[in-house]
């Protein structure tokens, strides 16, 4: 397997590059990011390229030049603009135009056989009539009033899905929210605050994904020959109140209409990324994705719990307690 991977400089990208490069069935990883230079050492079978995916010419040169020269057979596309509050044409270009250009160039490519698109479970519509369990047939959220962050991800997902049935083997992975630092996770941002506000009277079920499971799922998809849409759930399915308890934060229930202005104020004062309008339905109706298809066809079973955000002093105390118990044993 010779893999081209976009979004290689994100925490997920770096972990995936390391995993693929160290596996026996992967002889080369062409890692693509937008940083011109990286202060880290890659394995010998990793080649890094700085590419602006919003420029069609650079995408063309990457796919028809570097990818062809290196005999790339698998493309994993993970590059997305992470900041939830950013919007505009440049953000749309990064999220959607780049995806469209990339999948177009990969179609009919002489060496590329497989295209993996990392999508998001947030594309599903969460309404009162929605199932608690969302399979791949669940409705998508085409609300035109949705934030650009969400509309772009749905458009990118649909753009890739439009190429099903062609010569390229395409797998779209709709992943549960990856709860990890610097991953653009809304929940990570929400749970990093000392106080977590949630809607009065609602305690929905959430499913979240760890970095290790995300890497395992994408690697499985890259190795597989199955095509189509796959839900990628995480190992943690729990109520919102329990997620707050896991991070040892103060849990306060507030009437729903107050949450958007309160979190808007928080962003203006402190500058956090969490957007309540992006999470409003999830914080009321939940929505857990059903990963049976991925389990059946990709062999993916989530098994790594999330590393919940903790205050540094609490992590230190827990570590000291672990060391004490180990020395006692």
């Amino acid at each position: 397997m010779r893999v081209l991977l976009t979004g290689a400089t994100t925490p997920l990208g770096r972990a995936l590059v390391d995993t693929l490069a160290s596996s026996e069935d992967c002889s080369l990883v062409l890692a693509v990011g937008h940083e011109p230079r990286l202060d880290r050492s890659w394995r010998s079978n990793v080649v890094y390229r700085c590419v602006d995916l919003t420029r069609g010419r650079e995408v063309h040169d990457l796919v028809c030049g570097d990818a062809f020269e290196h005999g790339i057979d698998t493309v994993i596309h993970m590059a997305q603009h992470r900041a939830a509050h950013d919007r505009g044409r440049r953000v749309h270009a990064q999220n959607v135009t780049a995806t469209r250009e990339l999948v177009l160039r990969c179609t009919d490519h002489p060496t590329i056989r497989r295209f993996i698109h990392r999508s998001f479970a947030e594309v599903y519509a969460l309404e009162r009539a929605t199932s608690d369990l969302l399979d791949e047939e669940a409705a998508l959220d085409f609300d035109p009033a949705a934030p650009q962050w969400l509309r772009d991800r749905i458009e990118a997902d649909m753009t890739v899905c439009a190429h099903f049935g062609g010569p390229l083997q395409i797998a779209v992975l709709r992943c549960a929210e990856l709860v990890a630092a610097d991953s653009g996770s809304q929940l990570w941002d929400y749970l990093s605050s000392r106080v977590c506000l949630r809607p009065l009277g609602f305690d929905p079920m959430l499913n979240v994904l760890s970095l290790d499971d995300a890497v395992a799922a994408i690697a499985s998809a890259a190795r597989s020959t199955h095509t189509g849409v796959f839900n990628i759930p995480g190992a943690d399915t729990l109520p919102l109140s329990r997620a707050i308890a896991e991070t040892v934060r103060l849990d306060i229930q507030v009437p729903g209409p107050l949450l958007a202005p309160l979190y808007g104020l928080r962003r203006r004062i402190v500058g956090f990324e969490f957007r309540y309008d992006l999470n409003l339905r999830r914080f009321h109706f939940g929505g857990v994705i059903d990963g049976s298809r991925a389990r059946r066809l990709l062999g993916y079973v989530p098994s790594h719990p999330v590393q919940w955000p903790r205050a540094w002093w609490r992590s230190l105390l827990e570590r000291l307690a672990d060391l004490r118990s180990e020395s006692g044993a």
Binding site: R128, L238, G286
Partner: protein
């Protein structure tokens, strides 16, 4: 809380833990056990639930309980689920299927989820049946509680989705007659202009609290619908015939139970 009840429900009842003591729909056995204990006075002393035929419910594997529905609020569903929880041995947790507007109700949605109630969508019910769970469905839907008092125990609307699922997944259907609920808390009027949280109407009960009617719950012989025509599971006529077969069995059970009871409160 009764310790033995907690032990039975929290430890012995089959339950697909999604990792933190909850299943994917939010069921939490300790919360359920607490509800069973809290509901015991209603079951034992207020409604004096009299139940027969519990042995007709399969001890394991997927099955669908299909019952009549009535009364202002789903006390009939609560008593039936309590009956199954308390009397089945080994214990089984019935997964009651609720209408689509229930998830919008603050507090109620969370409470129901912790007790195992799920929204009535195909994906939810399919997942439960594939996990071998016991699903409880009220095919009359909201039309059941919306009936006038003079139409009590007459089935007005009868949805057929349960029949398609029973055929497709080859699961037995157990008809359940619940007598007592429709007299216990009759509906005085429906305020259709007030649609709170997406509900079709605001019910106004005839009495401020349910009357202590004597509840009778009868479980009928399980019906196996797969023999009808598994290869034609998408044929609307096949599905309608299967659903009608269950409706007829339930109506017979209701008639027998109504004839056998000595009075509403006795």
């Amino acid at each position: 809380m009764d310790a033995s009840t907690f032990a039975r429900l929290a430890r012995q009842a089959p339950f697909h833990d999604a990792g933190h003591g909850y299943d994917v729909f939010g069921l939490h056995p300790p919360a359920l056990a607490a509800a069973v204990s809290a509901g015991a006075p209603l079951y034992d002393w207020y409604f004096r639930v009299d139940s027969q035929g519990i042995e007709h419910i399969p001890a394991a594997g997927a099955a669908i309980l299909v019952a009549n529905h009535g009364g202002v609020l789903p006390m009939d569903a609560a008593m039936m689920c309590l009956d199954v929880l308390r009397r089945m041995d080994p214990p089984r947790i019935p997964r009651a299927v609720a209408d689509h507007f229930v998830p919008r109700l603050p507090f109620v949605s969370t409470l129901f989820a912790r007790l195992g109630v799920v929204s009535g969508t195909r994906t939810n019910v399919r997942a439960l049946l594939e996990h071998g769970e016991l699903v409880a469905i009220w095919p009359e839907g909201v039309a059941g509680p919306a009936k006038s008092f003079k139409d009590r125990y007459r089935i007005k609307e009868w949805r057929v989705g349960f029949a398609e699922l029973a055929i497709r997944y080859n699961v037995p259907v157990v008809p359940v007659a619940i007598v007592g609920a429709e007299e216990s808390w009759p509906l005085a009027m429906k305020m259709r202009g007030l649609r709170l949280f997406g509900s079709p109407y605001l019910p106004v009960p005839a009495t401020p609290i349910p009357l202590p009617a004597h509840y009778h719950i009868r479980y009928g012989e399980p019906l196996h619908l797969d023999g009808l025509a598994h290869c034609k599971v998408d044929d609307p006529d096949v599905i309608a015939n299967a659903a009608t077969r269950v409706q007829v069995a339930l109506e017979r059970l209701l008639d027998d139970t109504l004839r056998a009871r000595r009075g509403i409160f006795r």
